[in-house]
């Protein structure tokens, strides 16, 4: 329990701000905490980043500020204090208001911008109408003033505001445009507090930067306090004034941005930062062993103790308090003073040597890929050497996945030559020889879709062995166990159905399945994009180990430039189906030649 600071009420001034005190949310009907002991202060005009991975409870905290909880959960404790407009100087507790008052409050005083842009808008109602709907209902202004307000709002977020645009439906806008409309809708009634729930997930780096800049500018100019809920530490590093890190339903660390990124105190924060790649230097990424505990399954004592590198027996004895170790810097850990300083350059490793000798194993020449009659990839050429990782980088629509699928034989409408060890490959996997199929393996992006949920792990990993005649029966099972050990999956999971595993675990199974075929080339199609950042770190560490031990080459498709620095030796930058720039990672990222590359590099959020 934190000691209530006497000036809490004074944070809520007549000009805005919000205070959260001791917030707790439990599951309905069960005495299980989803989040608990949450204390937060949002000052007017400031952006607070609420960071956490899946299962941290960050979204729950975000929606609680509006007095809202998802079905199956209920806000059980705490206060959300906001200025009382009717009585200047006094405060109101959102959680104590009648639902009528809460409804009044939502949109007008506390606004919400959701995660998934497409589903936030009603597909059957035109944009213009939806924007003014809120004002219309509250009877604010006249029809003309509302329309004018809508136009102004759209202009503020950098969108056209002519009649033609207002007449459009949601599906006629791009993802970035939809999100900016959502922002415009949120700001129109001039709220005092804004809650944003990962609003840029799924957007391109460039679009993301634009949305973030817009949001930051709006907050500053209108004096709005914002809570930015996200899993992406890099994004937060660029826009937040203060950062709160959440783990398993509690705030682990809270402080100003500079402090959190330069002197993280909590072991979890440090582990998170260790697993994030940097643009400026290659790093040996690491993950955090284990997985985030679900509500009800959390360990005794400090919730992080079963995964913490610094845990001692005392950590299991009781939940640590959130204590202040420096002005405005709170940490929930009993060993902060003992664990020493953190160095951002800790995991740095040298970049791959661009002048190393290359033994080319796979080469792509003059690749043109078609969808029906439409050409989506134009004359792409590159090659891949033994034991090397080549990264295909680009934004959505750049053709990187299309190229990788063509190389893997999953897409057959292409022309050009793909040569493997001197032999040209057939267009579709079915037409290729069994040996070629075996030696080039493909790993998919979404681990929830790439494994047959009905099969057990053993069946999944065994199948390539049986198919390619590598092993059978008892012998195969032994190999499966070996592989599971290599990808750090417990042998007890052998007979688990795939549907029981987490995303990170499933992706490891997918990697093990690929390894079972004993390939020479692995095509990794954004395999970490759907995973938490710490899980991404451990997968990358795994791949790096495999590359060094077995000499497997990899074609690594990603949109994350920082990740490229840590994992790849060479990089191909793609835009609209063409190679814009290519070369060794060091050369391209230190001295980019093309404007597009420079733009990508400058738009990528960075923490270094």
């Amino acid at each position: 329990m934190t000691t209530t600071t006497p000036d809490t009420d004074h944070q809520v001034t007549p000009t805005g701000g919000l205070v959260v005190e001791d917030l707790g949310v439990t599951l309905t009907g069960r005495p299980v905490d989803v989040v608990d002991d949450i204390d937060l202060v949002l000052r007017p005009g400031e952006v607070v980043g609420l960071v956490g991975e899946s299962g941290s409870g960050k979204t729950t905290v975000g929606t609680s500020l509006l007095g809202y909880s998802r079905a199956g959960a209920v806000i059980s404790a705490g206060k959300v204090l906001i200025e009382d407009r009717a009585h200047p100087g006094a405060v109101r507790d959102v959680l104590k208001l009648s639902w009528k008052e809460v409804r009044q409050l939502r949109g007008e005083e506390i606004a919400y911008v959701p995660q998934d842009p497409a589903s936030a808008l009603n597909p059957s109602i035109r944009i213009g109408k939806q924007i003014v709907e809120l004002l219309q209902l509250r009877g604010i202004g006249t029809a003309e003033s509302r329309l004018q307000g809508a136009r102004d709002g759209l202009a503020e977020v950098g969108l056209p505001n002519d009649d033609e645009f207002l007449k459009r439906y949601a599906h006629q806008l791009s993802g970035g445009q939809v999100q900016r409309v959502a922002l415009a809708m949120a700001f129109l009634p001039k709220p005092k507090v804004l809650v944003l729930d990962e609003p840029t997930t799924g957007l391109d780096v460039t679009t993301q930067k634009m949305v973030l800049d817009t949001m930051a500018e709006l907050c500053r100019s209108h004096g709005v306090s914002a809570l930015y809920v996200t899993h992406d530490l890099a994004v937060v590093a660029n826009i937040a004034d203060r950062v709160a890190v959440m783990y398993a339903g509690q705030i682990a660390e809270l402080g100003p941005r500079e402090t959190i990124f330069a002197h993280p105190a909590h072991p979890y924060t440090r582990a998170l930062l260790d697993s994030i790649p940097h643009l400026s230097q290659a790093r040996a990424l690491k993950g955090i062993p284990g997985r985030t505990p679900a509500p009800g399954a959390r360990p005794e004592g400090c919730r992080f103790n079963d995964r913490c590198a610094y845990a001692v027996d005392k950590c299991r004895e009781g939940v640590p308090e959130l204590r202040t170790i420096a002005p405005d810097h709170d940490v929930r850990c009993i060993r902060v003073e003992e664990i020493g300083e953190w160095d951002i350059h800790r995991g740095t490793v040298p970049d791959s040597d661009p002048s190393k000798a290359r033994d080319v194993i796979l080469s792509v020449e003059g690749l043109n890929v078609f969808y029906g009659r439409k050409r989506v990839v134009h004359d792409v050429s590159f090659d891949l050497a033994k034991g090397e990782v080549v990264a295909l980088v680009g934004e959505s629509g750049s053709g990187k996945t299309t190229i990788s699928r063509s190389v893997g034989g999953l897409h057959k409408e292409w022309t050009g030559a793909i040569t493997f060890e001197g032999r040209e490959l057939a267009k579709s996997a079915r037409r290729r020889s069994a040996e070629d199929r075996r030696r080039i393996q493909y790993i998919f992006q979404n681990p929830y879709l790439s494994l047959n949920p009905r099969l057990t792990i053993e069946q999944i990993i065994k199948r390539p062995m049986e198919l390619f005649g590598i092993a059978k029966g008892r012998q195969a099972t032994d190999r499966v166990l070996e592989l599971m050990d290599q990808v750090a999956l417990g042998s007890g999971m052998l007979h688990y159905q795939a549907s029981r595993l987490s995303g990170g675990e499933r992706q490891r199974v997918a990697i093990a399945r690929a390894l079972a075929a004993e390939p020479d080339v692995m095509i990794c199609d954004e395999i970490t994009s759907a995973l938490d950042v710490s899980v991404q770190g451990s997968i990358v560490a795994l791949l790096e180990g495999l590359r060094k031990e077995r000499g497997i080459s990899m074609l690594f498709v990603t949109h994350n430039l920082a990740l490229v620095r840590s994992i790849a030796a060479r990089v191909e930058i793609l835009q609209a189906g063409r190679v814009v720039e290519a070369g060794s990672v060091v050369t391209v990222m230190e001295t980019p030649q093309e404007d597009y590359t420079k733009k990508l590099l400058s738009n990528s959020p960075r923490i270094d």
Partner: protein
Amino acid sequence: MSATTSPPRSSSFFRKALRQKRFTFGFSVTVLVVAFAVFAPHLSPYGENETAGPPFAKDGVFGTDYLGQDVLSRLMHGGQSILVISLLATLLGMVVGVLIGVVAAYSGGWWDEVIMRLNDVLLAFPQILLALVVLTALEKPSNLVVIVLVGASHAPRVARVSRGVALGIVSRDFVVAAEALGERRSRVIVAEVLPNMTGPLLAEAGLRLTYSIGLVAALGFLGFATDPGAANWGLMMKENQLALSTQPWGVVAPVLMIAIFTIATNLMADGLAQASQKGD
């Protein structure tokens, strides 16, 4: 860490289904009706065609029918043929329909279009109409003909449903992964696609059974029974229709049996549908 084995899938689905109240109720009543249809003929007080009294009299539990036969006894004999024909017709419809639907979904492109257009032609017939049209030219329908007709009227509908379900599975990465490994197409369908369809398919089968019973009884009601003398719930309704106001049981008893049977199978099918939705 000790190796743990999760229970085999089929029994866990059954267990999940049992947790749905609708399924347990529907399933138990269905079993009861089936048991009645199978075993009751051995327990009937009178024979199937034995005269028990004057026509439309009140003797016996449910009175007598248009020929003086005991209604209760005829009731006990009348379920067998309906049961067997419905089950076989459902089976036929499901097998053919699933095959068509899954192959169409998996093949995609041009094949899918052609198969589905032909399917639409069959779908243009209300189910009873197809049966009636074919029966026009036949002197007397045999059991096999009825089974094939009812099954054939189910097949296009089952095909449409299973194609819908299969489309959602066929595009998933694990199926693409199997193809990338070079698995035989037949194996992909059997090992990757079909096992992920069991829930919805079972629910559809339950629904089809309900409609089969209705159709077979309807054909009997319209007078197209294969053996005019034998007891048949549908036919009994037609035979005794004239005396509906004086001796209603001759009609109402078989009507209630059909109603109970179809309600039970439909509830069971819905329970299966609910169980399959809660999966994954």
